[in-house]
Symmetry: C2
Subunit: 337 residues, 2 copies
């Protein structure tokens, strides 16, 4: 399937959905739309994902595409009105539109009527199922090994780490499943529940349901974590995932150099404390151990410096660590097996 | 205002909304409806609340009442079809219906059309406002002293403890506000946001908004806690309240003798550990200290034994403790002032 990826003014640093789709999804990305990077190519900015031209608007996407994917997820998940002409153009051309925003395109009168008129699908990835209930506290009843990623902050690489572990596990012949809990993971996997959009009473229940389903059919279940237990806005989402999944193992994700909560005037506690934080938080519900760490070293130029940073991180958390994008997730996968 | 309180098969032990309304709300309760306790009176079961006859159905409520209040909050918040004749009868008599269920009466076709036909209001207390956003992490900017209740489990008395602290503070002339975060508190206060019903990304934001509003006008803000940080289903709600409110002080609530999570096959950790659990969880976001404890001794017959249990609890948490219903909240209020 051919898609265009909308990422105005955010590519690549603040366009994690777009990067995730470029790296992992089964789509052919024909173009990235970012008015600030018009004329360059994806590979001018990011090396290790599929390449595509960057254009200023959907009207500039000359190839036939099947869908426009909104590849940005701003804090709050609102719709930026400056994107309206792009979505309108897509629908008028008969393209479906996929969105992970809290703002539902289906509920937008203009988009809804254009979609009907042109026979297009609006997929609001972040709309959860309506039949999710309270967690029963039984996710640990599955025979599968359940591994959840957790993090020191938002946007440190939890989805990426989870996806790399899952893909490498499958490449090694393990029967692994990927449980998507956020918009990017769901867009890539084509399935999942956006836990951050579930009402808070049922958020753990949504995770439990996915783990029970995946765990019934697979030997390893990799659960995509969200946010952080120390995040002033989103810690409830994190809590619901850790308790809802009742994981056997945790993988701690961090971005090298990150020392405050992104977008907030709040220092991050020392990285070493997160091992205890997560294990102590999980413990009354699940006996989960931090078995490895994933360090995002995208801000580091040299591979040698990155390796050193990863070694330091492994030392601090007293467990094997990798940068799954830069060097692969093998040493962490090793301890999970 | 005169109300009837629906509490079928749950009164009094599992009807915490009904008990809260009987104890604190500004309503005259004309009857409690519980088919299992038909013919008895409230005071036959609970002493320290307003009295009322208990009848089998809304049809048996002979007095004129202005509203029927659903006084039960089952796990999951569903509507029990056996209650339908009572709600129907109320609407046909021109009574409003107040409900704290997750199931919205407004979305029930029969109730919605009966309400229109008879000019009644359906108040779905648990429907949150649609304009709540992500927390900015700024609740600590208020000058007020913010006190949040936290607990070892659901239904241990957090709403009651909060309400008692608030009412006693006002009786002592302090300028105090009550922030209602759950259906019972909202029914009593007539205002508030049901945090457990807010989508999890915005749950802390909802609490923050209420604290900022209350803190702008008052010297003390008492925030009603929910659930528990160790609850397998609801810990995300608790997390959102503790981080969203950024409290200065925490009051730990527990029920005497409770040693497992209500309705779950999960032991509660030792009570002493909760002081550290809550303080450590709060710490990256708010420097909150457990300054007192509230012990619910409703299961204890003798006042002397209750006093002993409270003294033991105070010892375990190393802070003053009360049973706010049995003996009042004064020793805890003392340390808050």
């Amino acid at each position: 399937m051919k898609v265009a990826l909308l990422a105005h003014e955010k590519f690549p640093g603040r366009a994690k959905t777009a990067i995730g789709v470029l790296r992992y999804a089964d789509y052919d990305v024909e173009a990235v739309i970012d008015r600030n990077n018009d004329g360059s190519r994806v590979h001018d900015h990011v090396a290790d994902v599929q390449d595509a031209p960057i254009v200023a608007s959907m009207a500039d996407v000359t190839d036939d595409v099947d869908a426009l994917v909104i590849g940005i997820a701003p804090i709050g998940g609102g719709f930026d009105e400056s994107w309206r002409p792009d979505v309108r153009n897509a629908l008028e051309r008969g393209c479906d539109v996929y969105s992970g925003l809290h703002y539902f395109l289906e509920d937008d009168e203009e988009f809804a009527s254009l979609a009907v008129e042109h026979g297009c699908e609006l997929w609001d990835v972040r709309k959860p199922p309506t039949d999710v209930g309270v967690a029963d506290g039984v996710a640990d009843s599955v025979d599968a090994t359940v591994v959840a990623t957790v993090g020191t902050d938002c946007s440190v690489g939890k989805m990426t780490a989870t996806r790399e572990l899952y893909e490498h596990a499958r490449e090694e012949g393990l029967d692994a499943a990927f449980v998507a809990t956020g918009q990017t993971g769901i867009l890539i996997e084509g399935d999942g529940i956006p836990v951050d959009r579930v009402v808070s009473d049922f958020a753990a229940g949504a995770v439990e349901r996915m783990v029970l389903e995946a765990g019934a059919d697979h030997d390893y279940v990799f659960v995509e974590g969200q946010a952080s237990l120390v995040h002033p806005g989103y810690s409830g989402v994190t809590a619901s995932i850790v308790h809802g999944a009742m994981p056997d193992q945790l993988v701690l994700c961090h971005e090298h150099g990150r020392d405050s909560v992104h977008g907030y005037d709040q220092a991050l506690p020392p990285v070493a404390t997160f091992v205890d934080r997560y294990e102590a938080f999980a413990e009354p519900v699940a006996d989960a151990e931090v078995v490895g760490g994933m360090l995002n070293t995208r801000g580091v130029e040299s591979d040698a410096v990155a390796r050193e940073a990863i070694a330091d991180f492994a030392d601090v958390i007293d467990a094997p660590a990798d940068d799954p994008v830069r060097f692969g997730p093998d040493s962490v996968l090793e301890v999970i097996r």
